[in-house]
């Protein structure tokens, strides 16, 4: 997909089940695309930019495991450094950050584990990004996710 002609305020997309399961969080290619928007100056206002993903989870016959996540950029300097190091090549993102024993994020594991590992991966690598879990029944209720020092998930209601 080519870069947009104009700058964007936000970016919403979905993952779908292609027969190989569905990744329940942002993929490596999603983060790569976000960095492409950034380095090509296609983000209108970095401090207000939101990227959203919706997924059907692994059980396509039920909506119980559908997921909704958003990421924002809270520190442009950190994001730029993180992007320069990891987001310049889809293989670096996908294999080094996602499909690696130190942080395995995959459609083959539970939504909960993917969520925790995704947040930890961004936080431990000083990505400059914040992660939010949305209420899948509407877009009005969001919970900010982070990892405590003891590596457990911390949830803060944004409403």
């Amino acid at each position: 997909m080519p870069l947009p002609n104009t700058k964007v305020d936000s970016f919403i997309h979905n993952h779908f089940n292609n027969g190989n399961g569905t990744l329940s969080v942002f993929s490596g290619s999603d983060l790569y695309s976000l960095y492409e928007l950034y380095i090509n100056d296609k983000i209108k206002d970095l401090s207000k930019f939101v990227m959203v993903v919706t997924t059907p989870g692994n059980n396509i016959s039920s909506t119980d495991d559908d997921t909704l996540y958003a990421i924002t950029i809270n520190n442009g300097t950190e994001f730029a450094a993180f992007g320069e190091k990891y987001l310049t090549d889809p293989n670096i993102v996908d294999i080094i950050l996602y499909n690696n024993k130190r942080n395995y994020i995959s459609s083959n594991i539970s939504n909960e584990l993917n969520e925790e590992r995704f947040v930890r991966m961004l936080q431990k690598n000083n990505s400059g990004m914040s992660v939010y879990r949305g209420d899948r029944t509407n877009l009005n209720s969001w919970t900010k996710l982070s990892i405590r020092n003891n590596y457990t998930l911390k949830e803060v209601n944004c409403n």
């Binding site: 290619s29 499909n99 130190r102």
Partner: protein, 180 residues
């Protein structure tokens, strides 16, 4: 003077200890790996089962990959996180004509072929096709000591910007290879 020597010795030992990384085996789960000062190491030399040259051949067509282990690699000079990794090069020849070739094995960040340990007989791989510029990921599964299957698929998610080419992916996506 003795006190000074003792103090210096203790200080050096403390510095040495604080600089040491916690070593985790490559089989450790992400939840077991704590702190920012660690080395994820191929403790039991499991990489030896894949390192080397593997080849698929059909007449005068062949796809050959060569894999090399890189030890204690860090992603930046200031990082205290170290890893053992496998990177590789490849050559694809179709009917005697070289279609694609990576002639040098480069580690992070300039690699074209990377293997990530999943289980002793299964590796997740990422490969860049130097002809189309496209990437695929997949599995390299060892089915016997000298035989492995390679299956590649598209990387999940949106794909905006940099690596959109009208040139199709030029490498084989499903082959059985033999260790040379």
């Amino acid at each position: 003077m003795k006190k000074l020597i003792l103090f210096t010795t203790v200080f050096v030992v403390m510095l040495s200890c604080s600089a040491q990384s916690i070593v985790y085996d490559i089989t450790a789960s992400p939840e077991q790996i704590v702190g920012d000062n660690y080395y994820i190491k191929d403790v039991n030399n499991q990489f030896s089962s894949v390192v080397g040259t593997w080849k698929w051949q059909d007449g005068i067509s062949y796809f050959e990959i060569t894999l090399q282990k890189f030890e204690m690699e860090s992603y930046s000079s200031s990082s205290t996180k170290y890893y053992d990794h496998i990177y590789g090069k490849y050559k694809y020849v179709e009917n005697g004509v070289v279609i694609a070739e990576v002639s040098q094995i480069n580690p992070f960040p300039n690699f074209k072929l990377v293997f990530s340990f999943d289980t002793p007989t299964k590796y997740i791989i990422g490969i860049n096709d130097v002809v189309s510029g496209k990437n695929k990921k997949g599995y390299f599964i060892i089915i016997s000591p000298n035989t492995a299957t390679l299956e590649l698929k598209d990387i999940e998610g949106v794909n905006i910007g940099g690596y959109n080419s009208i040139i199709p992916f030029s490498l084989p996506t499903s082959v059985t290879l033999t260790k040379q």
